[in-house]
Symmetry: C2
Subunit: 226 residues, 2 copies
DNA sequence: TCAGTCATGTTTACAGTGTTCACCATGACT
DNA sequence: AGTCATGGTGAACACTGTAAACATGACTGA
């Protein structure tokens, strides 16, 4: 028995194919019959392993969250709170640009399925992302970089801002090339940062901005990340 | 001929019913046969007036944009740039909370339909919203409230931030009651505002914040709107 | 060895979808 | 009176998600 594929549990084989199919055809093009063909089986067989289409896609959302978690986790390799913070912002962007369909899936699943409540599992995983942001903020508050007022809500501001920018871009509302968007993301990040930074850190950012303006074309793209 | 309804063009009757149906059943529940029943006609008849389902929904997106435009337009009644700016932020929020389905439709249409390009008409109308924000920002820059650097991108920051917050809330990711969310929106708005305000306006905001903290429960909910 | 059970598949079927086609009524204009 | 566009109909096609009934083959206990 050297063939790994036939060894894998049917549930996992289906999930793998479901991810492939979703990433290729998107939500609209995802049908149980197509999935079955890909798995090499007829459609009703899938119902032995997943209750229905919704549950299959729910599993795909889980995968999407796993991938996001890997990206975010990597940012913890940063050595200072400040660096971890900046890297987390980049990681979130990288995830969204590398896996746009996963990004959309994470946030639009309920909308797509026509549910008016987000399923428990999804809500939990989303909550984890929120906590991750919150931890990065708390660290920076303790390091004297960010204001301590409304600690809870600062994380939300950052999250919403990043999500909003990315979402508008992915929805095709911005109509700029990817590299340009990365710069806009970084720039916008700094603007928000100025609003939540302690006076000390804010004036530091200010200095970086002025230095950048002195040599406008050669300046660093992401001052906050340095 | 006193009956207005039978006088209206069939295209408009269909559009009206389509809006009703979409607002009631959402995207997932929107079918041509249901629409036909509502109009009082069989499904194929609809194709005399609209090329296909996509075009019908495109018309609904147009309606959604009209409603948004009305909300934004009202904010122009503000007497100073600063007030118009604050009112625009409120109007955007009001629209989203009053018509969540329209709000989602505006930004998720292409995603829902499985298109990878946003249709021309939608792109244009979205562009108009962006310009509206841009105008509010420009006014405030000229009035010495907002920094003049990166004028273009400041509008984007504001738009993305507002969109992100609202979108997360509507997707059920925030799990707070509406009134709480309104306060979070206002608070987050001020945080970003601090990052894009001129030093003079920023210190003014700072003063308001401190005043609010002096009497934490009785303070105004939206200092930026006053 | 044999009967039984369980996991996993298949075939068939149903109701619903978007859309097309061939056909038919009606009312306006030549 | 005849023509023609307008706006409707019913039947049909190729899909969809999903349920019910049935088949098969591996594993188990007697």
């Amino acid at each position: 028995m050297f063939t790994v594929f036939t060894m894998t549990e049917p549930r996992d084989r289906i999930l793998n194919c479901a991810c492939e199919l979703y990433l290729k055809d998107g939500f609209e093009g995802f049908s149980m019959r197509k999935l079955a063909r890909r798995v090499g089986v007829t459609a009703p067989a899938l119902y032995r392993h997943y209750e229905n289409r919704e549950k299959v896609l729910l599993a795909v959302v889980g995968q999407a969250h796993n991938v996001l978690a890997r990206y975010l986790y990597r940012s913890l390799a940063g050595e200072t709170p400040r660096e971890r913070f900046a890297r987390a912002g980049e990681a979130y962007l990288d995830f969204a640009l590398d896996h746009p369909r996963y990004f959309q899936m994470i946030y639009s699943f309920a909308e797509f399925m026509g549910l008016d409540e987000v399923p428990e599992e999804v809500a939990e995983e989303t909550c984890a992302v929120e906590r991750f942001w919150h931890d990065r903020v708390r660290e920076c508050v303790e390091a004297g970089l960010l204001r301590s007022h409304e600690l809870e809500e600062i994380g939300l501001s950052l999250w919403a801002h990043a999500y909003g920018l990315i979402s508008l871009y992915l929805h095709g509302m911005l109509d700029v090339p990817e590299e340009t968007f990365r710069q806009m993301y970084a720039g916008s990040f700094v603007r928000l940062l100025r609003g939540i930074a302690t006076p000390a850190y804010a004036s530091e950012l200010e200095a970086e901005l002025e230095a950048e303006e002195a040599l406008p074309d050669a300046g660093p793209v992401k001052p906050a990340a340095k």
